[in-house]
């Protein structure tokens, strides 16, 4: 078990190192960062001074070394545009992002698990097929199209929901649904398939033969066993989908979160913010993945033993 945890941690460290290096070389290969900071009409001497100041005069490897050092000591630089530490900028955006992600997760689970169970139970009837067709097509709807159509209908046409802002509950409705869209579609399919596998098991027949009410059979014997498969499939995808979804949805609804910050800094070429934003999201995703991996191994001895030998 300790071996498995260690292996997961080492894999995580390697991935972290890859992304840290990727971020460094991507931003350095594009040219001298000083050219982006400086306005027009700066003399060559000033430029050299700045290059020295930022430590850009050494070879790329010394710079890389310094960069690694500054990351370890927690210095990530100042935003080009806002002239504040990037860590402060990212810190104030974590809250809104987390709230939106939490809402998305709750909504997704509340909608897709019942739908998936229903689709499995009524698989031979119209209701089951209808759910699966909607889930299937939903997977092909890009988040931004869903968001735009909702804004068109519910904000401009019916005038029910606000577009921008995050102060009241109604502000959460559209961003949450837009972010869940693809995820609901996928999780419904996974739930249905996992339930279908479980429904044909012998212990389900036994439970029914014992005279248990159908509700208990489905929820207690069925869903609980299906959830093992469900977790293994979903666990590793959650973090990545959230990262992708929040970037799109937050910028559409001007949500003051990390995703909106990433897109804005990418368009404005505010590299320190972009670098730190990418790093922190990547770290979050990798940490979540590793946590899911390890937690799952603890929960299921089969995996622990298969991988841990």
């Amino acid at each position: 078990m300790i071996g498995y945890t260690l292996r997961t941690l080492i894999k995580m460290a390697v991935t972290l190192f890859v992304i840290v290096s990727l971020v460094f070389f991507a931003t350095r290969l594009s040219g001298n960062p000083v050219d982006f900071v400086l306005g027009v009409g700066i003399t060559e001497d000033d430029k050299q001074l700045l290059i020295k100041y930022y430590g850009l005069d050494g070879s790329i490897w010394t710079q890389y070394w310094h960069y690694l050092g500054s990351i370890l000591s927690g210095e990530f630089g100042l935003s080009f545009l806002e002239r504040r530490p990037v860590s402060a900028i990212v810190a104030e955006r974590i809250g809104p992002s987390l709230k939106l992600i939490f809402g998305t997760m709750v909504f997704t689970f509340c909608v897709s698990i019942p739908l998936g169970i229903a689709a499995a139970i009524y698989r031979d009837r119209l209701a089951g097929s209808a759910i699966m067709i909607i889930a299937f097509l939903g997977y092909a709807v890009p988040a931004f199209v869903l968001a735009i159509v909702m804004i068109m209908v519910f904000s401009y046409w019916l005038n029910w929901l606000p577009v921008v802002g995050n102060s009241t509950f109604s502000h959460y409705i559209m961003p949450t649904i837009a972010m869940s869209g693809m995820w609901v579609a996928a999780l419904t399919r996974f739930t249905r398939n996992a339930m279908l596998d479980v429904l044909s098991q012998d212990y389900m027949r036994t439970a029914r033969a014992k005279g248990m009410p159908e509700r208990v059979v489905i929820l207690k014997h069925g869903l609980r066993n299906a959830s093992i498969t469900l977790l293994s499939v979903m666990g590793l995808q959650i973090a990545g989908w959230i990262a992708a979804g929040s970037v799109v949805v937050e910028s559409i609804f001007s949500w003051p979160g990390i995703g909106e910050m990433l897109v804005r800094s990418a368009i404005q070429r505010d590299y320190p913010v972009l670098q730190f934003g990418v790093l922190s999201v990547a770290v979050a995703v990798i940490l979540i993945n590793a946590a899911v991996d390890i937690a799952y191994a603890y929960a299921d001895p089969r995996i622990r033993l298969a991988k841990g030998t």
Binding site: T15, V18, A140, A244, I267
Partner: protein, 297 residues
Amino acid sequence: MTDISHSFTLKAIRLPGIGLWKQANWIVRIATLVGLALVVLSVAAPLVAPFDPNDQSLISRLRPPLGFDRYKDGFFLGTDELGRDILSRCTFGLRLTFALALAGACISLLIGGTLGLVAGLAGGHLDDLIMGLVDAQIAIPMTLIALLTLSVFGSSIDIMILVLGIYGWEQFARIIRAEVKKLRQMPFVEAAQAAGAPPLRIAFVHVLPNVVSPIVVQFTLNFSNIVIWESTLSFLGLGVQPPTATLGSMVGTGRDYLPTAPWIVLAPALTILLLTFAVQILGDWLRDHADVRLRSR
């Protein structure tokens, strides 16, 4: 079991047209027709489009589509904020989206296919290294890589193709590696090895033709994802830059006019949906079709 599945799928791939069409249900047939219509539309864009997609006419800006008040002759789907014809922009946007997604999927296949083939055939440390790369790619959200690359290198068409080309290579690598590993155990490959065939010959003559069907399936699914991905990036303003029209950027710039001129957004958004639905249905059907085990479900 595996023997049978391979001979079957190979046969299906060899006779694409009629054989597959007969086995398809009506949903798949409609999706095929829609897909073909969109391909024809995009290939024939210069012939179909009534105007130049970038021609501005400020007198006839923000005109609604046919059948509404203030409709202006010739602009069937209306005009945008600069008086550009939306029908023309949609067809040319579709053309560019198709081209970008096709190029992206091909590059992704090339990268993933080569690495998967090498990993599967070589094994050992090379295999470990390549699978490590695959794991790293899975762990790092593609969104972050795309944001970084497009921001740093600017978003020209070349860079866009490159970014889209990285998308999904790890899927190709994993699938092809797994297939190759399975095939290597097959008697005919062992026979070829025993007969002294060089590694390259084994790779190209004996192994590669037998992984065609999973590749076709993955290619379709990847294509559909890349279409979504490209239009999302262009929508955010990070992809193809104005005035060049892609479906995503049309939705992106049109959203400022949503309250007054929703048709600017509706036409490209519906085109995106038609395209992704059609490709998704085809890809899914191909996958079920190629996998004998799933067909009984």
